[in-house]
Amino acid sequence: MQYATKKLAEEKVFKDPVHKYIHVQDQVIWDLIATKEFQRLRRIKQLGTTYLVFHGAEHSRFSHSLGVYEIVRRMVDDAFSNRPLWDKRERLVTLCAGLLHDLGHGPFSHAFEHVFDLDHEEFTRAIIMGDTEVHEVLLRVAPDFPQKVSDVIAKTYGNKQVVSLISSQIDADRMDYLQRDAYFTGVSYGHFDMERILRVMRPLQDQIVIKSSGMHAIEDYIMSRYQMYWQVYFHPVSRSAEVILRKTLERAKDLYVEGYTFEFAPTHFYSFFEGDVQLADYIALDESIMLSYFQFWTTENDTILSDLSSRFLNRHLLKFVEVDPATDWEKLVELEKLFEEAGINPKYYLVMDSSSDLPYDFYRPGEEGERVPIYLQMPNKELRELSRSSDIVDAISGKRRTDHKLYYPKDLLDGSNPLHVKIVKSINR
């Protein structure tokens, strides 16, 4: 029997808090889950630093990836199986892409990518195409199969329906992470009727659209995305933890470049500091390794590195104030000078964080040709962009909401020092 179609002797299931069960029937999927690159995802948290605010948010990229796979499986095996415009030959590549779409995430994904100017999607593709166990499994399907899976994840695959299921305004990735993140953070947002959405999704020639009678289920999903962003993903305290994480890594990198001698050589980071990251180095670095270094760095002679790493590990975070750069940008330049005068390095301790510095995912109808919106298929088969039919979506997608926060170490500013008092006054002005 061909490996591509080989089924397990008995269906395997993973118990899952969001989908109840995740069903695996294909040998290829089972083998991919067993690879060391996929198992590594157990050591990468789905929500990075959010666990410092919502203590339940310790779930991993591993569970999310299984969840995305399960949603995709239900789409292709159940919802689409008898739809005339769905090509059943795309089943396996879609399942594999759903399972592997987050394979290249690094530790504390966003902050880490920011400091070292990396892109997890590039590493996902590199793992799929490189000398890895995942590549070996995919290659057994067909010589061009790894490239196909990689193309789906890169969104450059010829069949746009397949790409849309993994990555679009309403895809399996978002449907899983909204529900999973809501479950593990314990918030009451993030819930929507996924069963209904799966029933009203319709594959068309080049895209997936929604039957118009399913509009209210989609409204719920869009609202849930909106609330999760402002209540969980953009939480100011979690952003403070992310700022410290970023600054700790930046400090370690700056010290390495300056030739500083570390008490404990950060060998896992060398290629990252040098900007020449090899695939094996990337795969070897996970959150357990990174946090071990943070522990070592708490006793380093460099006071900035030791302070920042202690702050992160002990949740001794930076405070924040809301700022309006439109009126405050000159004040910010002044503040940087005052910090320098006070001997507090502003590069690491005075940080502006804007909403555009965070991964973003609001629904925007946009303009033609900018980004594919969600289309409703009306009874007469006409396609209509969602916000043109839904007042709720129109209301939240038409409103721009952005914010800017200034993070600073309040605890380092001593009330008896006149310069510090001046800084505090300036910050709170």
Partner: protein, 165 residues
């Protein structure tokens, strides 16, 4: 501290006015590919390279009054025009003046239409491939554009021109 914001305002100030979000997205992507220092991350979308971060940054800059956005209703969709405001121009003083190369690049790009810039940006997105592979790939992912050989040749020439600056 707000240098990345200032760079986008400076870009717009040099362009004068940019008509269309798609065009703006592609212009900054192309500038990035030519090694001008823009930090916004791009991914491939249906219409070529696209940056969520740039979308939010533009929204922030409009909210701050550093950019002006005008919306035109085109029936089934809306089109947006952007320009830097006087307040935005003042804000760009926190960064150095743009290089002559960037100025020339922006002017040349802004003279093109968004369909052509979409093609150029997509070719640059696949710059790790050989020319033949790039053409094949672009024809696959942009099948709906029904690209002609002339358009592809012009796009390669355009990239060569930009790289001369």
């Amino acid at each position: 501290m707000l240098e990345d914001h200032a760079k986008v305002v400076q870009f717009m100030s040099l362009a004068g006015e940019v008509t269309g979000r798609k065009k703006l997205q592609k212009m900054i992507f192309i500038a990035k590919k030519l090694d001008f220092s823009f930090q916004e991350k791009y991914k491939f979308h249906m219409y070529g390279p696209y940056s969520d971060e740039l979308t939010v940054r533009i929204e922030e800059l409009c909210n701050l009054g550093f950019l002006e956005e005008k919306m035109e209703n085109k029936g089934s969709y809306s089109q947006y025009c952007y320009r830097a405001t006087a307040k935005g121009e003042e804000f760009t003083s926190i960064i150095e003046e743009a290089s002559l190369a960037l100025q020339k690049t922006i002017i040349l790009m802004n003279q093109q239409n968004s369909r052509f810039l979409e093609l150029v940006a997509t070719l640059l997105f696949f710059d790790n491939l050989t020319q033949k592979q790039r053409i094949e790939k672009v024809k696959t992912v942009k099948a709906s554009l029904k690209l002609t050989d002339d358009e592809l040749q012009n796009a390669f020439l355009f990239i060569d021109n930009l790289q001369q600056f």
